[in-house]
């Protein structure tokens, strides 16, 4: 890929570093995002993984990656990245391996790890300005164990541990933790949200991040057919709807300075996104939970209102 930024999907890198034949669920949105991430990152890469769905990508004696892989544990993949990065630097500096042997170090975790258990090791790695990438595939629950509530779960979502019931008809009563802002408070050189439905935006963000030494962090929405109760063939549609309704804001922060990279001209109502997902079905039947739906819409409206007041020059359909 020569031109930067690319303009259309026709310009996406043709190389595939994540090959077909994985045991992920059909329609895994996270896997689609990861495929694009690895197109941008190339094969001189080591993925340091934390416990989650994607741990099952490499099962002995198979791996779908052209690049290297190290599974660590749930809480400490960024510390694993620290060890690999430091070791490579030492070996190159001491002349024990050639600089050609260098690798990009990429942490890959789900939202359960990123939003909660892995926060300590992630904060440490960002704070130490570790030169690494972090990709969080955010399917908004502990998906690998059967879609239990995580701190990435949005308000109103049904999960296996927030089942709508007589006492708590809403499902998840807490709102999604704001991981973007938690990470941003460390002022990493590059931080962005991405979506598998916007590969051009995604690849351009990775290419832009490449110029920075230090933490380069990405949170991707990851439609999850079994957890979300959606058709596998429609994952890209839901990822796109999340952006079109304003629920998933595509943005970046360079050294903490936030800029939205794609703002819909006209936001679709959140209901369009919610109503076809099994995890939100209880908001519509048997009784329509008007107040909950309105609250979700208000949260989204409130977010964008604040964006427009803070970010001067936000233009609709703006792309990097």
């Amino acid at each position: 890929m020569n031109k930067m930024p690319i303009k259309s999907i026709k310009d996406l890198p043709l190389e595939e570093n994540l090959l077909p034949g994985t045991p992920m669920c059909a329609g895994c949105g996270g896997l689609l995002a990861l495929r694009h991430c690895l197109k941008a990152l190339g094969d001189k890469t080591i993925i340091v993984n934390a416990a989650g769905c994607f741990t099952l990508l490499s099962i002995y004696p198979f791996t779908p990656f052209r690049n290297s892989w190290l599974y660590t544990a749930m809480a400490s993949a960024p510390a694993g990245a620290q060890g690999v990065r430091d070791a490579l630097d030492i070996l190159i500096r001491k002349g024990r391996i050639s600089p050609d042997e260098n690798l990009k170090v990429v942490v890959l975790t789900g939202d359960g790890t990123a939003y909660d258990m892995g926060l300590s090791s992630t904060s440490g790695a960002i704070y130490r300005n570790l030169d690494f990438y972090y990709i969080c595939y955010d399917n908004e629950a502990y998906g690998n164990t059967g879609f239990q509530w995580s701190a990435g779960t949005p308000f109103g979502s049904k999960t296996a541990t927030t089942m709508p019931g007589r006492i708590a008809p809403t499902g998840a009563e807490l709102s999604k933790k704001n991981l973007f802002e938690i990470w941003r408070s460390h002022k990493p050189p590059y931080l962005a949200t991405i979506s598998p439905a916007h590969p051009v935006d995604l690849v351009n963000k990775f290419k832009k991040a490449e110029q920075f030494k230090g933490p380069k962090l990405f949170i991707s929405l990851a439609p999850c057919p079994p957890g979300w109760g959606t058709e596998p063939s429609r994952s890209a549609n839901f990822a796109k709807l999340a952006v079109d309704t304003g629920i998933w804001a595509l943005k970046e922060a360079v050294h903490g300075e936030v800029r939205h990279t794609l703002v819909p001209k006209k936001f679709k109502p959140v209901e369009e996104y919610l109503k076809e997902q099994g995890r939100f079905a209880h908001l519509f039947k048997p009784v329509r939970q008007e107040e909950t739906i309105r609250k979700i819409q208000e949260m989204v409206d409130g977010y964008w209102k604040e964006v427009k007041s803070q970010e001067s020059g936000v233009k609709s359909q703006e792309m990097i």
Binding site: V48, G83, L91
Partner: protein, 401 residues
């Protein structure tokens, strides 16, 4: 060769410096901290060419250590007690990665109640992790064991991480004269690290630490670790002989003291033992100190216990609900022996509690009585009358008297 007065901690740091370690991920905890402080200072002063990084926790520390070791650098780290327990998941994990890092554990009792002082419940909790374990008695032994540990861990027949253990306070903060070997001698014994196993680099993509499906695959890899660890018994003998050749100091996997004519044997690890009073009383007392705990030196123990009137294991640990950990392990070694000694169990020195000469006398009295009656008493806690009275006084202050 220079002789200096060094603490156990400083001795460990000197071992690491002489091993020309590349990478030290660290996290402070009492009573280990002096080790990483010494190393950090040397690195800042340019006396040691290594990278030192303080991470957010011991869990992260072991992860970073293992990942760096898997990438091909020589790695050291250290911890104690709660830190070791906090890192627990990763001990098993990096052992499964088959990475040859060395870790010093400065033993300290584990919470609750929270304490700073030594016992071996921390290190023995890690006995099933896959790490090898060397337990040290003296400061010189700590330095020497760090060098031997790298040889063991990096040996192609083993490729497992290893602990060098010492008692917190009693050894970590005790100064003893220590010979600091010349770097050339160290290099002849422990050459610079050149991994022959696969490491992460661009020309060699690979997947490490990956998931398995099915018991047979899991069992295969787990048992491989066991066999490699057990192989350590033979490799240890080779290495300790080589060490003796270069440095003139001999370290057996199981060290006997006054055992030749001993009728009554104590078995202990680390630094707490004494036979003085018993020998003064004319008791033919001997001490067996277990230096290698993993792999467990079954045969050395069997041989050393042959023909004794009675043997006592003093466990500075307690497996709550069972008793002494080493007692059970030693009893397991002896079960199928035809001629086996009577084996007594004592729990002592928990949380740094002193084991006084009187308590050692109590143990020998018990052994003599047992050898006469043939009746082995149940596990006994070493605790003096004075300590009991003091505890009663404290309970009164706490309102529970």
């Amino acid at each position: 060769m220079v002789r200096q007065m060094l603490t156990g901690n400083a001795s460990a740091a000197w071992g690491v410096r002489l091993a020309e370690v590349d990478y030290i991920p660290a996290f402070p905890i009492t009573p280990q901290t002096e080790i990483i402080e010494s190393l950090a200072r040397w690195i800042c002063d340019g006396e040691m060419d290594a990278r030192f990084v303080t991470v957010d926790s011991e869990h992260s520390m072991i992860t970073a250590a293992g990942a760096a070791s898997a990438t091909g650098v020589r790695v050291f780290t250290a911890t104690s007690s709660q830190g070791l327990l906090y890192s627990f998941e990763m001990l098993y994990t990096v052992a499964g990665w088959r990475v040859p890092l060395v870790m010093v554990n400065v033993s300290r009792g584990v919470s609750a109640p929270i304490t700073l002082e030594a016992d071996h419940n921390d290190i023995l909790a890690a006995r099933d992790s896959g790490f090898l374990q060397i337990h040290c008695e003296t400061c010189q032994e700590v330095l020497d064991s760090v060098l031997m540990a790298y040889r063991l861990a990096e040996d192609e027949r083993i490729l497992l991480p290893i602990f060098v253990n010492m008692d917190g306070f009693q050894l970590s903060f005790t100064r003893e004269p220590v010979e600091i070997p010349e770097i050339d001698d160290v290099r002849s014994f422990l050459p610079p690290y050149q991994p022959k196993h696969a490491i992460f680099k661009a020309s060699q993509p690979m997947a490490q630490g990956i998931a398995v499906l099915g018991g047979p695959v899991y069992s295969y890899f787990k048992y491989q670790m066991h066999l490699a660890n057990r192989k350590g018994l033979d490799v240890y003998k080779e290495i300790s002989k080589e060490f003796e050749g270069v440095f003139g100091r001999k370290y057996d996997a199981v060290e006997g003291y006054m055992t030749d004519d001993a009728e009554y044997l104590l078995i202990m690890t680390n630094s707490f033992s004494t036979l003085k009073r018993a020998r003064e009383r004319g008791i033919k007392a001997g001490l067996l100190r277990l230096r290698l705990i993993r792999p467990f030196p079954d045969d050395d123990i069997k041989n050393a216990l042959k023909g004794r009137k009675a043997v006592s294991v003093i466990d500075q640990n307690i497996s709550v609900g069972k008793g002494g950990i080493l007692y059970s392990e030693i009893a397991g070694v002896l079960y199928n022996e035809k001629d086996r000694s009577l084996l007594l169990s004592f729990i002592g020195g928990l949380g740094g509690k002193n084991i006084s000469p009187g308590e050692f006398e109590f143990i020998f009295d018990n052994m003599i009585k047992t050898s006469e009656t043939g009746t082995v008493p149940e596990t006994q806690l070493l605790y003096t009358e004075a300590e009991w009275k003091e505890m009663e006084r404290l309970k009164k202050i706490a309102g529970k008297g």
